[in-house]
Amino acid sequence: MNLMDIAEASLLAPYELDTSKLDRVFDHLVGPKTDLADLYFQSKRSEGWVLEDSIIKSGSYNINQGVGVRAVSGEKSGFAYSDEISMEALLASAKSASAISKAGQDGRVKSWHRQDAFKALYTPENPLDTLTEVEKIALLQLADTTARSASPYVEQVIANVVASHDTILVADHNGHLSADVRPMVRMSVTVIIEKDGKRESAGCGGGGRYGLNYFTEADRIKGYVDEAVRQALLKLEAVDAPMGEQVVVLGNGWPGVLLHEAVGHGLEGDFNRKGTSAFSGRVGEQVASKGVTVVDNGTMADRRGSLTIDDEGVPTQCTTLIEDGVLKGYMQDKMNAGLMGEKSTGNGRRESYDSLPMPRMTNTYMLGGEHDPQEILSSVKNGLYAVNFGGGQVDITSGKFVFSASEAYLIEDGKVTKPVKGATLIGNGPEIMNRIGMIGNDLELDGGIGVCGKAGQSVPVGVGQPTLRVDGMTVGGTAG
């Protein structure tokens, strides 16, 4: 069965819906002034298990299903949704959503086209069925025993594994029918350690659009555990972080959260259409140091941030945002692209059927440069080497962004020395991008744990970068 067949079989057929019935919904939804209208059907199942105190403490199963109905006229969006998929609910939602642009009688869809020629970036197999319950639990038990044997100081291990299977179908006013079946797995391990009366905690995890057997391969669980234990032990020895402006070397991989905050959000189409981003109206300008190339790439196989099609039925692509320091373009959904005279870049995403789509990132990363990471570190007289981060946040209007270093070291005379306590780093996105002094040749993407929040909606994303030297960023430490 192709994706469209799967989606129709689970989202339309059981509710006695077909394209002729959808025609009637569009009759009520679309009017002469409607630029865009769509129906988003979704059925998602997820399951999670938690281990703590060396026992399987809890498990949960979640069913999330419904339909979102949207009509767009110019800059106006009308939206309604229902947790129930039925003709009655669709018609009621269409009536509400069409209130922004009085619907007329010319809304009938001319003909329906099944958009099913896309090459899927992941398998439609249901990850919940890829392991038995006993095997799922064994993943967590392995994390627990591995952690407890990794270090005598491990006091507590909390491990969880989550799998979800998400089937969507988008029907739009042009008669396009698109479908996707999206698997996702994620595992995380947190350890609490105690040594000489001092306690610390750290976590690590990963995942992607795979089956759960992803975690039985390549010693992945041991990798997560060893990393969590290593980071927690390191924190015990950490000295106070320095304060004030420092040269900061950022490690490769997950520290790409810097790009996500410093430039990624500021390059989302909606903020730029409204002129509220620090990057508004700057396409063609030098906005970053030479050598800096940043892309948003939704097309990478099996990655957490990847999508075969976005939530408006548009295939994802690799969009160059910044090339050799010059701003090339924005990430767009259909509505904002239309208003700005551009084409959707396949970045129209929504948390679920009960939320409106908007331009969102997929996997956002900076391409590698020419410098060996060691060469970058030894070029710094005194500074901070930040290799792991918690979360970040940005005010896209002022450009100010922060992120919290969870693993960082002092650089003294070109050498990495003492670990320092967690500290917030703060900067101005457009400024920081012009202070990138050296770019490493070691591009890496994160392990598959990123969640991005915008306007109350969370979506899975990927980040990445090579080792970078930023020549001046404020570090929120306490050591003068």
Partner: protein, 445 residues
């Protein structure tokens, strides 16, 4: 359908779930069901941006097979879907481990007195009225000053619904509540034409008639935004920091996390074994009032049906209670404190100063008006966050500051609170005035 018959329906559904759980072999079970609807309108540059109709429903249930548990949730409240959800939860319980601390809260702790807390005031608001109000709010902000050049818009939203909870002790209750809010966010240009600043303001209430006027929300949003213009960085310094009430509540939020059962039984808190010890200065009293009519967090029972009660969390600076659910209480050999769903309205006693008197008391230091990021280590209490605010000298605001961080350790910050103002913000569930902390490290250029 009257509100009473809607309530009866939800209660009947909870009983169906409990019966189904029993039928499928569960020794006990608990269930929460919610249903509600709302309307939200976003306008921007005097036009509708989004018009959203919300209609939410959901069920969350946990089944226990002796001392093992399984949980499930669903947005579908049909009997067939509920049966499936119960089946999924029961299946999970077959694979989870036995844990003596699991289970319902003890039967004798269930709330028996369920006063009407006056939380339900639905607003019959048409889309047209909502749009008109939001536009006038935004217009006031945009007309306020020529430096306001752009807008993130204004939003008006209303929501009302029901929440039912029942468990197999025979406890079953449903509460109706509403919430309404109006917010506005505008953008001003720096004098040099280079940068932009944005700020916002909002009003919220359970009763539409108690919202601040659209004009006052718009005006305040504009004033807040203009105040941010031409902000500077600060050099590194150790200075007193005054948190405005909206941010002071976050300090007490960190305190609540640190004394919550989940952090304590894992020993993942900087306040382990703090019961009876002095964490704040003597003048600090934190008290919980769950029964405030129309209160943002008012409730007569917690998420396990346990009766809430008025109590001090802190008296004379000394920790009076932890915040425990039945599970974390059993893990610690204690009894639940009725905090399975957090603290129900917290009041921080003031030391009597007005906002201006607080500034005068600080004399020279940082007035903190914005925090960004979440650099807090709950185990050690280490604290480092991005900040915006104003530099204050001689008790008077000098200029706005940005792109700085403030850092310290929460234990020290709690112990070094100098004063709590009487400039309460009634919108937030923690009733506190401004809080002056004796000293923190400010990092800038």
């Amino acid at each position: 359908m009257t509100i009473q018959s809607k309530k009866d329906d939800l209660i009947a559904l909870t009983q169906f779930v409990l019966a189904e759980a029993k039928k499928q072999g569960a020794t006990s079970a608990e269930v929460g069901i919610s249903r509600g609807d709302g309307l939200s309108v976003d306008v921007r540059m005097a036009e509708i941006d989004k018009l959203e109709y919300h209609r939410d429903q959901g069920i969350g249930l946990t089944v226990y097979f002796d001392k093992a548990q399984g949980a499930a949730s669903s947005g579908d409240l049909s009997e067939a879907a509920i049966r499936d959800a119960v089946r999924a939860a029961c299946n999970i319980a077959r694979f989870t481990s036995e844990d003596d601390c699991l289970g319902l809260a003890d039967a004798e702790l269930m709330a028996t007195h369920l006063p009407d807390l006056d939380l339900y005031h639905p607003w019959e608001l048409s889309a047209e009225e909502a749009i008109e109000t939001a536009i006038s709010c935004e217009q006031t902000a945009r007309d306020h000053d020529s430096r306001i050049t752009n807008s993130d818009g204004a939003s008006l939203s209303t929501y009302s619904g029901l929440n039912a909870y029942a468990n197999s002790h025979g406890f079953a209750a449903v509460r109706a509540s509403s919430s309404h809010s109006l917010s506005c966010s505008v953008i001003a240009n720096e004098a040099n034409g280079e940068g932009m600043q944005r700020d916002h303001w909002y009003t919220s209430s359970r009763v539409a008639g108690r919202l601040d006027s659209a004009e006052s929300v718009g005006r305040t949003a504009a004033e807040k935004t203009l105040e941010r213009l031409d902000a500077r960085k600060l050099s590194n310094r150790e200075v007193p920091v005054m948190y405005i009430p909206q941010l002071a509540s976050s300090l007490f939020g960190h305190y609540k996390s640190a004394i919550s059962g989940g952090s304590l039984y894992r020993k993942a808190s900087f306040l382990v074994d703090s019961l009876g010890s002095k964490v704040f200065p003597e003048f600090i009293r934190l008290s919980e009032q769950p029964f405030i009519p129309q209160g943002a967090r008012s409730a007569a029972y917690d998420g396990e049906g346990v009766a809430t009660q008025e109590r001090d969390l802190v008296t004379d600076g000394i920790v009076q209670t932890y915040l425990l659910s039945s599970y974390s209480a059993r893990k610690m050999g204690l009894q639940t404190t009725g905090h399975a769903s957090g603290v129900h309205n917290l009041t921080v006693d003031s030391t009597g100063q007005s906002y201006e008197e607080m500034l005068a008391l600080m004399d020279k230091g940082l007035l903190l008006t914005g925090l960004i990021g979440s650099g807090i280590n709950g185990i050690t209490g280490d604290y480092s966050r991005g900040a915006t605010g104003f530099w204050v000298e001689n008790g008077k605001i000098q200029y706005p500051v940005e792109e700085i961080t403030i850092a310290g350790n929460l234990k020290d910050m709690f112990a070094n609170i100098v004063a709590v103002g009487n400039d309460w913000d009634d919108r937030i569930s923690t009733r506190t005035g401004s809080v002056l902390v004796e000293k923190m490290m400010v990092s800038g250029e």
